[in-house]
Amino acid sequence: EKINKFREAMGIMQHHDAVTGTEKQHVANDYSRILSNSMRDGNKLSADALRNMMKKDENTEKKVEFHSCLQLNISSCEHTENNKNFVVTLYNPGSQPLSTYVRLPVKGASYRVKDYLGMELVTQLVPIPATVSKIPGRQSSAVFDLVFLALSIPALGYQSFYISEKTQESEIQSDEPVND
């Protein structure tokens, strides 16, 4: 039912007015509504599919949440901004393995990104331009984009990364000499 609604929305969006923007404003608003609802349902569906692929944790009944950030195009995402620890899962819709740079809006000053093998990845924080911060209607506390390289996401598959904000305390700990 959910995928059918999405499919119908994509059908409607192929009308020449939707492609070129020659519809009346109230029709444009309706298109946005249809597409937004379908994206939300599509997200639920993808989250269920990802949950099925994941290893079941028998100790907890709690479902893993998967949130999409539909405003990443304006460097805004409440889930990356308001959580100190979060997992990013990238689903590759292509039929070839994919390597890509990932950009996530954050408000912390330092982050650690680890892949599923425990490898710590090189990261970079880049300031979000003031012109982006001033976009009318943008409600975001992010000041940086966290950048890292996601290597070899399998075709039609996913890869997850564990991201944690580095606190002063953890930085001090990480500088301690390692004992055998």
């Binding site: 492609v19 070129t20 923007g21 020659t22 519809e23 009346k24 404003q25 997200n43 993808s46 989250a47 990802l50 893993v64 949440e65 998967f66 949130h67 999409s68 950030c69 990443l72 195009n73 304006i74 995402c77 889930h79 990356t80 959580n83 100190k84 620890n85 979060f86 997992v87 990013v88 899962t89 990238l90 689903y91 590759n92 819709p93 292509g94 994919l98 890509t100 740079y101 990932v102 996530l104 680890k114 599923y116 090189v122 990261t123 970079q124 880049v126 300031p127 331009p129 012109t131 982006v132 976009i135 009318p136 209607g137 950048v147 890292f148 390289l149 996601a150 996401i153 564990y162 944690s164």
Partner: protein, 286 residues
Amino acid sequence: ESVSFMGGDTYDISVDTSGRVVLQSIEKEGIRMTQSFQFYKGAAGNNMVFSNRSSGAYIFRPNVTRAVDFNYNGNVQIFKGPLVEELHLTVNEWVSEVVRIYNGEDRIEFNWLVGPIDVNDKIGKEIITKYTTNLESNGQFYTDSNGREMLKRERNKRPTWNLHLQEPVAGNYYPVTTKIVVRDEKRKLRLAALTDRAQGGTSLEDGEIELMVHRRLLKDDAFGVEEALNETAYGIGLVSRGEHSIIFGSDSDEFRLHEKTEATRLALRPWVFISPVENISYDEWK
């Protein structure tokens, strides 16, 4: 550290005094490009006769034959790091962009941000970005056919009849779904601009690619919408943000394949999901 250029080992990218991004290839000798934002003033008529039609949702109808430059009163900042080098350019209060070079990638990303378009002067405007190179493209350029094969376009020409264009700018605009290309046959060089959405594009001068990024017009063009293309949100005009990827290369099968792969990669990006794990350590998660 205050620096005035970026581009890694491949390019030398800076901004000139008029706010244009200037790029020079370090690896490929002789390749130079400038990128700038400009705008066309939209025609505003009463739509009673053909010659008095307005520019609107259906038709692009500038009332000038040359795009107008913006007055540059902005600033530039450059950020360099191990993964990406970025140039943040503010052209004016409502036009800005970020130019990016990612480590290990040969594409140059232009992440533009335009709007709300200022219409306080009561003039509708159509904003373009122009990539100007020294390639000799001989009046020809290529645009994709709905993301499929590339179609050859020739400036001021049509394949099956003699053409005399009364509107030389609009008459040379073509749809660009994912890609527009100019090539220099003599030097066997090629420049491709990959878009993140369907846009209008052209090459009005040799070696040049022009793409329209945003429009705000104050008159209906009388083709049936009965509304001016003047969308607002929060009481002001819309802001549009998007991305162009520019790639240079030799005019070879290998590069054309690279172009295609890049276009596919940029069109089919991974879907990003975020899962909060506040009370779960890495080891528990693993």
